[in-house]
Point group: C2
Chain length 154, copies 2
């Protein structure tokens, strides 16, 4: 279980924009085989004595997260910019303070608008399974819906 | 374990200000004996399949939460307005996007500035213990520090 913020001070001030004292801007994914574009990850709260974690993800203009699914749930709050998301078979425009729930085993992807970054908080269980990518067959099923195909093509 | 947002739609849009579709503005406390002033509570994410919860609290201008402590940890992000907080024996000015950790069994209170509300997200374990109030003796010990006494007197 990660414990990235256990020994940090009780107050970590915001620095310029969406950055915080002592909070590193990390690579979105550790492994290189999941497709994504221009995404960073900052771990805001992660401690051995907390069952949930809160992270901040930021997608650069026109960028996107990985299309994936997993057993664990995401609770997302948009805090910066605009974009679109796919949750299951629903494509939605999203903007500041909107709340998005990703239930377990639901395909999802976030895409920033062309002209601005998309930043969001993501609540997740500290203990969780790894995401899986769609097979070619699963991707074909998703793409059979024109709205989803258009979303995936950016 | 509460499960207030299990059957809600996957997308809940922000409405005017810090309000969301289908998210009720609740009383801060259910029981009436804990002192506080002008605080509301909104449950943003709380589900049986999520180990953490995310809530939004808003304190009206000049209002304050209860001075209390408990075994569970709080992970707090300020999202609206300015104010001050007490964490243990530290009094700090706080503003937008600042991150505050309340470790277990640490006295804490949030106070909104006189002229504006203070709104914050609070990450907490779904399973948690109940807060306790300071005894007269514990309060006297806290008040022995002039900066804390001035904070508690608003």
């Amino acid at each position: 279980m990660p414990d990235a913020t256990k020994d940090v001070p009780n107050l970590r001030r915001q620095e310029d924009g969406f950055a915080w004292q002592g909070v590193e801007r990390l690579a979105y994914k550790q492994d290189g085989d999941a497709p994504f574009r221009d995404v960073s990850r900052q771990i805001l709260f992660s401690r051995a004595d907390l069952a949930g974690e809160l992270r901040y993800f930021e997608i650069g203009p026109g960028g996107h997260t990985t299309l994936e699914r997993h057993g664990h749930v995401h609770g997302v709050m948009i805090v910066r910019g605009r974009g679109r998301c796919l949750v299951g078979s629903e494509v939605s425009e999203i903007g500041p303070l909107d709340l998005i729930t990703i239930p377990g085993w639901t395909w999802h992807q976030f895409r920033a608008a062309p002209g601005e970054p998309l930043g969001f908080l993501c609540l997740v269980d500290a203990t969780r399974d790894r995401p899986v990518l769609p097979t070619a067959e699963e991707l074909a099923i998703l793409r059979a819906t024109p709205e989803i195909a258009a979303f995936l093509d950016g």
